[in-house]
Symmetry: C2
Subunit: 350 residues, 2 copies
């Protein structure tokens, strides 16, 4: 259909959007068009869990031609990542989009593609949603999942002496930022792979479920606002402190970016956007947990220990972490990439 991509959502109207875009994509989903979405049939006793998050401006959209696909993928990831931290099995995602009338159908389709493909990559789907017009783009979603009774992971439940595992391969997003701002340079293939992973972060659903099912995790939280904020919050939830080693393993290409940029691997690993999990594990279970995850192809490394005193240290020194906080001056709403690199990694200081 020539010119179709220039048609705006305002041109179509709510009924046109429903008939020409949403029905084609979701019409086969049971409950489509009803007042409620059918999330699923649950037959086994279940603790039902849910989480909701709004999508921030994807950092990757500051590095290339902005693409609604990235926002869609990120929206699904950040919500599914919370289910991962609970050790839950995803049942479905419910989406809520506010979009300006001028949004083109092509942009809208890219958004839906991003959400749908991310859900499919995690073995789940969009069960339903709502769309309305507004002056600014606001994308939020609610992920719904189930846990076997008693196996749900929480932030609390850890003990002093437990080890902290970081599940997932950190720093791909900010390695991409360093590459995009010329702080480092890699051969095309390695660069493309970093870019791909920066654009398509994966929630650690399998890891969360496996650790919960085997009773290997005592507490867990996803790394949504950076490693320091995550460790600090886990400590607070348990009335504990932590000592981290600062001796992080980064994947080879990411480590090379850190080296060229003059950034410590530990500092790069403290950034956000990779949606790993921090999990408290009994020290005697660390080997079993990492081995179990490795068998599923999931990277994990021990990064420190929870302590009875409430200090958070990197080795012997207080950990001066990188964190962002909402409703503060640091609250992340996009902005200049170069300034961001400076704010987050202080690269200009190197």
């Amino acid at each position: 259909m020539f010119g179709e991509s220039d048609i705006s959502l305002g041109d179509l109207g709510e009924r046109g959007i429903q008939d020409r875009i949403l029905r084609a994509r979701y019409g086969g989903t049971e409950g489509f068009g009803d007042d409620c979405a059918l999330v699923g049939l649950v037959t086994a006793p279940s603790e039902l869990v849910a989480t909701t998050d709004s999508c921030p401006t994807p950092v990757v959209n500051l590095m290339a031609e902005p693409d609604f696909y990235h926002a869609g993928w990120l929206l699904a990831t950040i919500n599914l990542s919370d289910l991962a931290a609970a050790g839950a099995e995803p049942l479905g995602l419910v989406v809520n989009y506010t979009l300006p009338k001028a949004t083109t159908t092509r942009e809208f389709e890219r958004l839906l593609d991003g959400v749908d493909e991310c859900c499919a990559a995690h073995g789940t789907k969009v069960a339903g949603g709502d769309i309305r017009d507004g002056t600014v783009v606001q994308l939020s979603a609610t992920a719904i999942g189930r846990c076997g009774p008693g196996s749900r992971l929480r932030r609390s439940g850890a003990r002093a002496g437990d080890s902290l595992l970081l599940v997932g391969s950190p720093s791909y997003l900010w390695a991409a930022v360093l590459l995009a701002t010329g702080k480092a340079s890699l051969p095309e293939q390695a660069r493309d792979e970093i870019w791909r992973r920066a654009c398509r972060p994966m929630a650690q659903l399998t890891a969360g479920r496996v650790l919960a099912a085997q009773g290997l995790a005592r507490a867990a939280m996803d790394v949504s606002d950076g490693l320091f904020a995550t460790v600090r919050t886990l400590c607070e939830a348990n009335g504990l402190g932590a000592t981290v080693s600062g001796d992080f393993i980064l994947d080879e290409a990411v480590a090379e970016v850190a080296k060229q940029s003059g950034v410590r691997p530990f500092d790069l690993a403290q950034t956000w956007g990779d949606w790993g999990l921090v999990v408290a594990v009994r020290s005697e279970d660390v080997k079993l947990a990492t081995k179990t995850l490795r068998e599923d192809g999931i990277a994990a490394q021990e990064i420190g220990t929870l302590t009875a005193d409430q200090e958070i240290t990197e080795g012997a020194a207080p950990w001066q972490g990188i964190a962002q906080e909402r409703f503060s001056d640091d609250s992340w709403h996009g902005g200049e990439l170069a300034k961001l690199v400076d704010d987050v990694l202080g690269v200009s200081k190197f």
Copy 2:
């Protein structure tokens, strides 16, 4: 605490909001502070349903000093109303708030009060949520519920010859608008009662559950965008038409407002904001359905019949309905009350 009400969310920051406001209110909710909310333990086989809606500007906030309480109450109502249309039992609400940093803690507390009190009035609760700062207020929520397998109500499933029941007492919101704009005048007590009901619309959860459980409803939909839009959508979902009688019963005080304003009861009944249900019922079940609802103190009236031909008529004439549509010029985003009365009810034409 003197001056506390002037403190803004930006003054508190995310951690301050969490510690000083949210923990006091929701800290006893299991899962508080975790990555996922615990919605509930489900032991019986269940069809899980979910719905999400954003809160529009409450019309009542155009008639008096704007109060976040009304937005909170409305946010909960509109989401629970979709569960009502599915005949579902509510399990919990997950909320998602974007608020400017300048929002005062008092405004925020009023918002939370509105949501929490509406949930309590419907026998459910806020299970969890997310809050972030942004330039404009955006309030959305997701309501999660369960149906016994096979008893879930849908928009489809109706047959030609079925009667249409309107569940609930219509027109309180727009009667309040007519009173506020001086089109009618009532004694203080009647006026206060109309205002109260306009501010606190109730989702028809009990009606939906009772009709679903007893197999009395073949299809249902809530009246979120006006009666005409609801009947039209129900007709489309079933490939049917409808004849409505136009002969509506309004509660006494509301009927008096209509009369004084020169508005036909039928026109007043077509407005939105009361969150009734339109339910397709076998014609032979109408008496039983209305009697059953009456025993629970719920008003219901037969308003017409579904027909095999796809016309929608008021008596013999085509029904020229009042409807709003998102992503159109009619999309509701607040505005001048006088203009709104004119747009929706055309009162100035009388």
